[in-house]
Each structure stands twice: as C-alpha cells, then as structure tokens.
C-alpha cells in the first residue's frame, strides 16, 4: 500500500500557493523521514521548488476554478489525482513541524478521516464557533477539510463522488441541507460536512477526541479578547537554534495552518531548507 501526502495548489493574483506548497513539502521532509508528497497544480513550479515533491500532477480534466479567485472548485479531484493508496490531504498554507509519521498507523484504521477538533497556538482546544455558524445552525458534522485522509476504496470513492456533485451544485445543496445561516459561497468544509451528513457516515470518519489535529491560526479562534485583523501583527514568531518554531512564545508542533500568507517569509523558507534532505 503506497502512502503519501497530497495537496492541490492554484495561484491567484494575491497569493502564490505553489510557494506555500513548496514550503509545506520542505517542512514535511525536515521533520519526517521517508515521506512522499505530491502537488496537484496547473501552475508553473520553478525547477528549484520541484525537488521536495514526489510527483507534480496536473489537475485532472478541466480547470473548474479558472474564473474563480478563491480556487476550491477542483479540490474534490484530489481523490482521483492522488498517486497513493492512502493519502493525507493538506491545504497549502500549512507547515508540518514535528514527526507525524505515526499518524499513518492511526489513520490506516479508517477508510476516510476528517479532523473535527483544532487547536490554538497555545495548544488549547478551539471552542469558538464564529466561523462555524452554518455548521451549528444546520447540525452539520464539524469537519475540517484542511487535514483529512482517505484510503482508496468504495467508501472514499462514494464520498468524493458525492462531494463532486455538491461542489458543482453548491447553491442547491446548501439551500436544501444547510438553509439556516446560509453560506453564500462554496467552501470545502461545508461541502464535506454535507456529504457526510447525506451519507450518514460522521461516526465513521471523524472523532472529536482524536490526536489527529492541527493548529488553526484564524484570529477569532485564539481565545483573545482583543481580536486583531491579522495574527501576524500581534504575536512574535521566531525559530530556535534547534529548528523549532515559536509563535507568541509557544513552541509549535504537529501541523500549523498559518492562514496568513505574509507569515511565510523567505527567512522561514531558508530555515526549512537548511539541512533538509529529500
């Protein structure tokens, strides 16, 4: 059974997601040995960024996000594009900051797994529901698609086939299955939650007590009284000599979903490159 990480990245006018994907791939290899990661993109990947990737794969079929600014319309294709039997899917604006290779054993017990609890930079469970109003109002499974896993097989395929239909007809599905606090845009989190709700597999594909999680840096999740526009404006970030990253004086481990592109400085990329073998 082949195993690997996969992410889909499409640049827009503001953000170079391929650069983020490159940093993510570097971080994977820096803290984890013998891992594979593939990038799904139609954008040009500079030669010097290609090294950390196992494969660079074109988005299957047509580019459904060609005219979109927030390019999520192709995300369901990751199931079809992944070259691995078992895949951990990540978003590009993430870094892996410690050894997570043991996650494969835990995830291998499932056909499909989504994180349904996320942590703050202080390693506290996120309880704030500001960004989850649609989930609460419609009793949707609290899934985070930014980190999920699938094993190729009937169950995962059924899920992704339905996800394709939902993403391509999101107004219809959101209106029918999530009419309260109606979300006026298509998101992978809500679409995945709807797919799970329709199939009825929530208990099989998530566990709120699982240690498979990530640090989510959206500002309102951090438990702050004074919520800034950007977290990068209000807490320090620096690398220790041993290669560990601190945010706001807290050491970061596992997966960091940094959200704000300005976090990913050239200095951080240089630190990730330093001594990393792939």
């Amino acid at each position: 059974m082949s195993k690997g990480f996969c992410l889909l990245a499409q640049n827009n006018e503001k953000t170079d997601y391929v650069r983020q994907a490159y940093a993510l791939a570097l971080s994977l290899h820096k803290y984890n040995t013998g891992q594979k990661i593939s990038l799904i993109t139609n954008d040009k990947v500079p030669d010097e960024w290609q090294g950390p990737f196992d494969k660079i794969i074109y988005i299957p079929w047509s580019d459904d996000a060609q005219d979109e600014d927030w390019k999520i319309q192709n995300r369901w294709k990751v199931y079809h594009a992944s070259p691995y039997d078992e895949t951990i899917v990540l978003e590009a604006d993430m870094l892996i900051l410690s050894d997570i290779t043991h996650w494969w054993d835990e995830l291998g017990k499932r056909e499909l797994f989504f994180t349904s609890n996320v942590r703050t930079y202080r390693d506290e469970l996120v309880t704030n529901r500001f960004y989850r109003k649609t989930f609460d109002a419609n009793n949707l499974p609290n899934l985070y698609s930014a980190l999920h896993y699938f094993k190729k097989g009937d169950k995962a395929k059924e899920f992704y086939n339905l996800l394709e239909v939902i993403v391509n007809n999101w107004q219809l599905f959101y209106g029918k299955y999530a009419p309260n606090e109606y979300q006026k845009w298509c998101s992978m989190d809500v679409s995945c939650a709807l797919a799970s709700k329709i199939i009825g597999n929530e208990l099989d594909i998530t566990d709120p007590n699982s240690y498979i999680t990530f640090t989510h840096m959206k500002t309102r999740l951090q438990g702050w009284h004074q919520v800034p526009e950007r977290w990068t404006n209000v807490i320090g970030r620096y690398y220790k000599k041993d290669g560990s990253l601190l945010l706001g004086n807290y050491i970061q481990k596992g997966i960091l979903h940094y959200v704000e592109d300005m976090f990913l400085s050239e200095e951080i990329i240089e630190k990730l490159k330093d001594g990393t073998v792939y």
Partner: protein, 288 residues
C-alpha cells in the same frame, strides 16, 4: 526533612504586612501546626511593635534592602483607594531564604482556614502551585482576566501560595524566577504584559512556561484544595465562629459602591483588601 511556612512582610507607609504575617501565622499554627519563619526588612519593628509575635512566629530572617520605586493601587472597596509602594521582589529568592527542606510560601493576606495544605508534604512533587482561583464574588465572572498573564500570553499561576522541596530542580526554577525578576522589563515586553510593575504571579507563570519548554504540560501539579479569592474591591466586614467564618461585602459589577453580602467558612482565602483585613486583625489582636 524539616517542614515549615515562609512568610514575607515588607511594610509600606500604609500597610502593615508584619501585622498581617503574625495573624497569618496564628492561623497557620491553628490549622497546619507548622513552624513559621518571617522574612522582613525591619526586624526591630517586629520586636518592638509586636512583642507577642513569638507565640506564632518561630524565627525571623532579616532581608537585605531591595530598592524599589514601584507603586500600585490598593483599594478599600470600590470607593477608596491609595497608591502605595509595592515591595514584592524578594519572594523570588524564597529558595535561598527558606531554612526548611520543604516549604510552603504564602502571602500574608492568605488566610488559612483548614489543614488541606498539609497534603502537599505527602506528594512526590518538588513544586506545587495553584493554576486557578475561585472568586468568592460570583458577580465577577470575567474568568479570562485571571486565566492568562496577558491576552496573548501563557497560563496564569498564582504565586500567592506555593510549595517546594529543596532540590536541584527547584533551585534551577527559582534561579529562573530571579532572572526574570532581574530582567523584568524585557520579559514583560516579550510576554506582552501591559503593566510595568513586577508581579510574582507573572514571573512564576513565565518561569513555568519556560521550564515546560514553551508549551503546556502537566507540570506543575496543583496544590491541594482551592484558592479562594476576594479582590480589594470587596470588603471584609466581620468574622464569626472563632474567626473561621468570614463575611464580605462583595463588589457589584458595574455598580460602584454597591455590594452583595457573601460569606465563606473554613476555607483558605486570599483577602486582597488589605485595609479591611487590617481592621479585622486589630480587633483580634486587641486581646493579645
């Protein structure tokens, strides 16, 4: 292994911490029956003003003069306040000052009301402290104010009372607390603490955070029992039942000068209104 309690008393112009310490020691003797050592910068004052101190205090340690200009607001309820010198820097040196192998250090305005703290001596842990407080005033639900040392900072621990064994480990810990104290303005900027005053709760919390490798762990363990707190906006008005039942006027939120009656009995209570505590102690000591 010697065991005892260490109290610090450094008076300012209006607050007699020595008087509080003797009262605190009286309660310690009653409930914990432990030796009590008082660390103070004015031994003569203790000897002359409170000649009966030996009933409750076993020994006195003279502290060297530690120059400080920091002041803070001390309230007596919500309608009266004074800005006074705040000499709190020497607690970080508790490791060197304590003559005991195992020590409980407590604020002089921490009133012992039961023997729960004796259980600290029965643990294998080198250092115990409270992570949370129980606010007697339920009209003050702003728990977040005490949960972290700053909005973006690490967990708050209460140096009001803590226990330590003398070991290499705790020696290193107190060395770090002293280092933080001596470089306070650096650390308070790094940890985004708006107040410029040095505060032991913050220094201990930062040291704990650093000792934990800049992450949350299950160290240190909590002291047994609860740390009850009344703020200096509350007023201690009377005690009953041989001074074990404390009655307070508790500050009504957003309604200065108005209070709710509240009481607590046989509990360990941090009474932050020093003036009302002082008035109560005067009544008790009138018979000494």
């Amino acid at each position: 292994m010697t065991k005892g309690v260490l109290l610090f008393a450094l008076n300012n112009l209006n607050i007699d911490y020595v008087k509080q310490a003797i009262y605190c020691a009286k309660k310690i003797k009653k409930h914990l029956n432990l030796p009590v050592v008082l660390a103070t910068d004015n031994v003569d004052y203790v000897l002359n003003k409170y000649p009966f101190y030996k009933k409750y205090i076993d020994d006195i340690v003279k502290l060297n003069f530690y120059e400080t200009t920091q002041t803070r607001r001390f309230r007596d309820g919500t309608m009266s306040e004074r800005n006074l010198t705040w000499k709190n820097h020497q607690r970080a040196s508790a490791y060197e000052i304590s003559p005991f192998d195992e020590t409980i250090v407590m604020d002089t305005d921490f009133i012992v009301g039961n023997n729960i703290l004796l259980n600290a001596f029965d643990t294998d842990d080198d250092f115990l402290i409270y992570r949370h407080i129980e606010d007697l005033n339920q009209d003050r639900p702003d728990e977040h104010r005490f949960n972290k040392i700053s909005d973006r900072g690490p967990d708050m621990y209460w140096a009001t009372v803590f226990y330590f064994k003398k070991t290499d480990f705790t020696k290193s810990f107190f060395d770090l607390v002293e280092h933080i104290r001596d470089n306070w303005h650096f650390y308070r900027l790094i940890y985004q603490i708006p107040q410029s005053n040095f505060r032991n709760d913050y220094a201990f919390s930062i040291a704990i955070h650093i000792f934990n490798g800049f992450q949350r762990t299950n160290w240190p363990k909590m002291l047994p029992g609860k740390l009850w707190l009344t703020s200096d906006a509350d007023v201690l008005i009377k005690t009953d039942k041989d001074n074990e039942h404390y009655v307070f006027l508790l500050d009504k939120k957003d309604w200065p000068g108005h209070y709710t009656l509240g009481a607590i009995e046989s509990a360990n209570v941090h009474i932050m209104n020093k003036f009302s505590l002082d008035r109560h102690i005067d009544e008790v000591f009138s018979n000494e």
